[in-house]
């Protein structure tokens, strides 16, 4: 399915929630959606017979300077096409619905984004820190992260 057609189909289905299509310089292209509707969009993308994005390749948190973003890279084994979905979040209290009910693969990747960016995925079945210790302070991949002096009395 062509990217533009896919975007149009999404636009027709979700209207205002689908914001823009990023194409030039983006491989694969990104559909930017409103964060609140990400779960619904995900279900549609997975189940619609012309989309069938059955696998979530990658879910990444991004610090886009003035705001955060969550990027989803989807792939369809049935149709062999790809698309990126992106949702921009404010820097304060970034949160959006979890998609781990749609693609179970999302769980670990969401935990990673939560761990390193502090993005909260509402409704996630298990949202804990994954790579860092449970009592770590701060989210290191944020651009404004301050490196700690010590951890439990151990100088870093």
């Amino acid at each position: 399915m062509e990217t533009q057609a896919l975007f149009d189909a999404l636009k027709a289905k979700f209207g205002e929630a689908v914001l823009e299509l990023q194409t030039t310089g983006f491989r694969p292209a990104f559909v930017v959606v409103a964060p609140a509707s990400i779960a619904d969009v995900a279900v549609f993308l997975r189940d619609d017979p012309s989309m069938k994005f059955d696998s979530l390749m990658c879910l990444s948190g991004v610090d886009a300077k003035e705001r955060f973003a969550v990027a989803y890279h989807l792939h369809s084994l049935a149709h062999k096409h790809q698309i990126g979905v992106k949702a921009f979040l404010p820097r304060e209290n970034p949160s959006l619905p979890s998609v781990d009910a749609v693609w179970p693969a999302a769980n670990f990747m969401e935990r990673e984004a939560f761990d390193l960016y502090g993005i909260v995925f509402e409704g996630s079945k298990d949202l804990r820190r994954i790579l860092l210790p449970d009592d770590w302070e701060g989210h290191p991949l944020r651009k404004d992260y301050k490196y700690p002096e010590s951890y439990h009395g151990v100088k870093l």
């Binding site: 990023q22 030039t24 310089g25 983006f26 491989r27 694969p28 990104f30 059955d54 696998s55 979530l56 390749m57 990658c58 990444s60 991004v62 610090d63 990027a71 890279h73 084994l77 062999k80 990126g84 693609w103 179970p104 693969a105 769980n107 670990f108 990747m109 990673e112 390193l116 820190r129 994954i130 790579l131 860092l132 210790p133 290191p140 991949l141």
Partner: protein, 376 residues
């Protein structure tokens, strides 16, 4: 005489498997809740090897990140090197000389063989047979020697460069590769006779941790773990990159020959068969490799145009994807690494319910995880 159950209260036991444990392949910690020998729940706890590679990636330039990709999957550093190089080349739109592409394919496939050898060897060692492990190490040494003659190191190669490879193949390398292939091909049959089809080994693996094709896709498994469930998907064939379209090979999938489709044995056999396919690819690549330069013209101050790219390539442990965001400066603005082992760990808790403790070891081995890739 029967006693009422209350007279003999039983309790579930919480066992800490790892981070130091002989068969967790590094520093994986699994929190086991067991009822005797039967696992009620096995929760993986990763992150003991977290080095913040993604943060480092934002600090160093594109070229400087290459040595860090060695530290992703140290058993298949060539594959990671090349995957990163391909990703950056896609981002910046660099054309790589054909000889360089062939060299990359040759070293990637050699590394796939050596990585699968370790997967095979450590798996059998986990199952209690130590001898095949040493045989596999012996064969891997030859590959390491080959790599040393190419790039000077035996583990962290740092061979690929953005736009090509750091040096041309040394004289005699292709002949030595052919020699190795001729030596190695019969060894696979020997492994199969020695251990693969051993009754005990088959019984340990068949019907353990069965993953259906649907689950495997939904949980995002890739590489041999996905193919073990019977899904015929290989990035080298389905999203061809480099010179793979010019090379002929079969995509190995699990067949369920000794149990249910998608069990540990199928995942194991896929790796064994993939070694044969790698030999096939290598023979063709060695025969076809053209003469020419090995490095494209890349400006010393390398600044790709602003943009985003997601490139994935087929590494021995599933797809390794690089999601690179460039803001037009010398450093990436975001460098996300998606690795096969990390995603494989996600399904671990689901598939290990109701297995025995010994099976946990089998499942870890059959996923062929490697911790630096999980923790990055």
């Amino acid at each position: 005489m029967t006693r009422p159950a209350e007279a003999l209260p039983t309790q579930e036991m919480l066992i800490n498997m790892g981070p130091q444990h002989p068969s967790t392949h590094g520093v994986l910690r699994v929190l086991l809740r067991t009822d005797g020998e039967v696992v009620v729940n096995a929760r993986p706890d990763v992150g003991y090897l977290h080095r913040g590679l993604e943060k480092i990636g934002e600090r160093v330039t594109y070229a400087q990140f290459m040595p860090f990709t060695d530290r992703l999957d140290y058993l298949a550093a060539m594959n990671c090197n090349c995957a990163y190089a391909w990703a950056v080349e896609k981002l910046a739109g660099i054309e790589v000389p054909e000889r360089a592409e062939y060299i990359r394919v040759i070293v990637s496939e050699l590394n796939r063989i050596s990585s699968h050898l370790i997967a095979f060897g450590s798996f059998t060692a986990d199952m209690g047979a130590f001898t095949p492990f040493l045989y596999s190490i012996r064969e891997r040494e030859i590959v390491n020697d080959l790599f040393e003659s190419v790039c000077g190191n035996r583990l962290t190669y740092n061979y690929a460069r953005i736009g090509g490879v750091s040096a041309d193949l040394p004289p005699g390398f292709l002949e030595k590769t052919k020699e190795f292939l001729d030596y190695f091909e019969p060894k696979i049959d020997e492994y199969n006779n020695l251990i693969s089809y051993n009754k005990i080994f088959v019984h340990r693996l068949a019907n353990v941790a069965v993953i259906s094709a649907k689950d495997a896709v939904a949980y995002g498994l890739t590489g041999p773990n996905l193919r073990g469930s019977g899904v015929k998907f290989d990035l080298r064939r389905d999203e061809p990159y480099s010179v793979y379209p010019k090379l002929e090979f079969d995509v190995c999938v699990g067949t369920g020959e000794r149990g249910a489709l998608g069990d540990c044995f199928d995942r194991y056999m896929v790796r064994i068969n993939e070694m044969r396919q790698s030999i096939r690819i290598l023979r063709q690549a060695v025969a076809q490799i053209p003469e020419g330069p090995v490095m494209a013209k890349v400006p010393r101050l390398f600044k790709p145009a602003a943009g985003e790219v997601y490139f994935r390539s087929e590494c021995p442990r599933g797809e390794t994807g690089f999601y690179i965001i460039s803001d037009g400066t010398t450093n990436p603005s975001r460098l996300k690494i998606r690795t096969g082992s990390f995603v494989s760990m996600n399904i671990f808790e689901t598939v290990t319910k109701g297995l025995m403790i010994a099976d946990i070891v089998a499942v870890i081995g059959s996923f062929d995880i490697i911790l630096p890739e999980i923790d990055r």
